[in-house]
Amino acid sequence: MLLNILVGFAIAFFGFVLQTSVAGVNRKIIARLQKRYGPKWYQEFLDIFKLLSKRATSHGWIFDFGVIMALGGIIATAMFMPLTNNIVAFAGYDNFFIFVYLIAVGMLGMAMSASGSGNPYASIGVMRALTTMLAYEVPFMIIVLTIINTTGFSSLTEIGLFQQASGNTWFLIALPLGGIVGILSLMGMLGKKPFETYIAPAEIASGPMVEYGGKQLGMLFIMHEITVFIEVSLFVHLFLGGAENIFIFLAKYFAVYTFVNLISNVNGRLKIDQVVKFYYKWPLIMAITQAIIAIYFGWVVSI
């Protein structure tokens, strides 16, 4: 039992270091696209440690407690994530629904502390974040329930093993409409450019993070990095077939994150009603069509 908890902490720490490095390398890639040199690859680490060394004011105990709750909740969620087929902390507990349930704890912690600060921009940002979550969850859940129905399991390692079995292809290719919906939902989850409404740096002065400075902001950044790690790993396990060893996992992770970042680099930002209308139109239709095709007719694309 104690060994499992230690492996879980190691997985969370590994996820934090991995995501921070990948984010730094991506900043350099985007800068080279824009014909300039970028920052160093470890720039995100410097940002986080600089924030942890500043002294800031606090707005009361709900403000501080919300940040700690968010960070603790996200670390607890990351402990359940399987990395490859064999490296998993709590075998048998890496169910998809556990992740859906526990990510909400992180969100709620941030919402609680942001509204405890009393700034109206924070309330607007929190409202927008929860509305965006309402928008992208519906097509995403339909696709994932299709996948669970096709494979018959709902544990992430089992879904990965199903896709790696001979004769099966990754779900990105086997359910093509579902793959597209998965990528769009991933961009909404990460808060990348067309759906960046809840941070909106120059519009509502960075939304929920407006009153934070110093150590609380550093902890929020750590929470954001681990959240991104969890979401991209979910995508890798559900649609890209898990991983047999760690190098394949790193390659798939890097490819997914860079692809999403490259798309988001050339887009503007949508308004919140446009986000909701977008997600309830074509992605929802594609998800329902894919569900009908895969469940009732049983057609999958196989190479």
Binding site: A31, Q34, R36, K40, D47, K54, M209, G214
Partner: protein, 192 residues
């Protein structure tokens, strides 16, 4: 050379331990500075070339930030009228420590070309502590980048102590602010 097997390792005093922690903190602080650009004067037009592909500011680690509570540097670009000075003092006191102020152009130094105007203050140093000035009207973008690198070197040599000066000589700064502005409270003239 003395061998270390027989001499006791010297225990560091409390000031030296604090200083070593502070040096590590200075390394992180000077390599990732976040700026709040108070762009209401003419010198703000030198910032887009410094931020984008021409003279890239991001390779030094600096980037723009949206609110004063998250930023390290307050960048005053150009002249300040009495009305703006009130808001700048509010903004400066909201930032979290350690914080630095950079004055762009000649107007924060001695008034620039507006030195004989009835509405523009002449010396920014009297009201908030300034760490680095970049002279010129307006300075070339290379001079602006040079100013930022100078600020980074000042942080490394521990001479960028504006925020400590503000805390210690608070009465002197407050006296100057009251002489020029009355009390530092913001009124909304359009709705009163």
């Amino acid at each position: 050379m003395k061998s270390t097997k027989f001499t006791e390792p010297r225990k560091l005093s409390k000031e030296e331990v604090d200083r070593k922690w502070w040096e590590i903190g200075d390394f992180f602080r000077r390599n990732s500075l976040w700026m709040l650009m108070y762009c209401t004067g003419c010198c703000a037009i030198e910032l887009p070339p410094a931020m984008t592909s021409a003279y890239d500011m991001e390779r030094l680690g600096m980037g723009p930030m949206a609110t004063p509570r998250q930023a390290d540097i307050l960048l005053i670009s150009g002249y300040l009228s009495v009305k703006s000075l009130r808001r700048v003092i509010y903004t400066y006191e909201q930032m979290s420590e350690p914080k630095y102020v950079v004055g762009l152009g000649s107007c924060p130094i001695n008034g620039g070309i507006y030195h004989d105007s009835h509405a523009v203050i002449n010396q920014l140093d009297q009201y908030i502590p300034v760490d680095t000035y970049v002279a010129g009207c307006m300075p070339n973008t290379e001079s602006v980048m040079n100013g930022f690198v100078d600020l980074m070197e000042q942080i490394r040599d521990k001479t960028a102590k504006g925020w400590i000066k503000y805390k210690e000589n608070n009465e002197w700064y407050k006296k100057n602010q009251k002489a020029a502005l009355g009390e530092v409270i913001i009124h909304d003239e359009f709705h009163e």
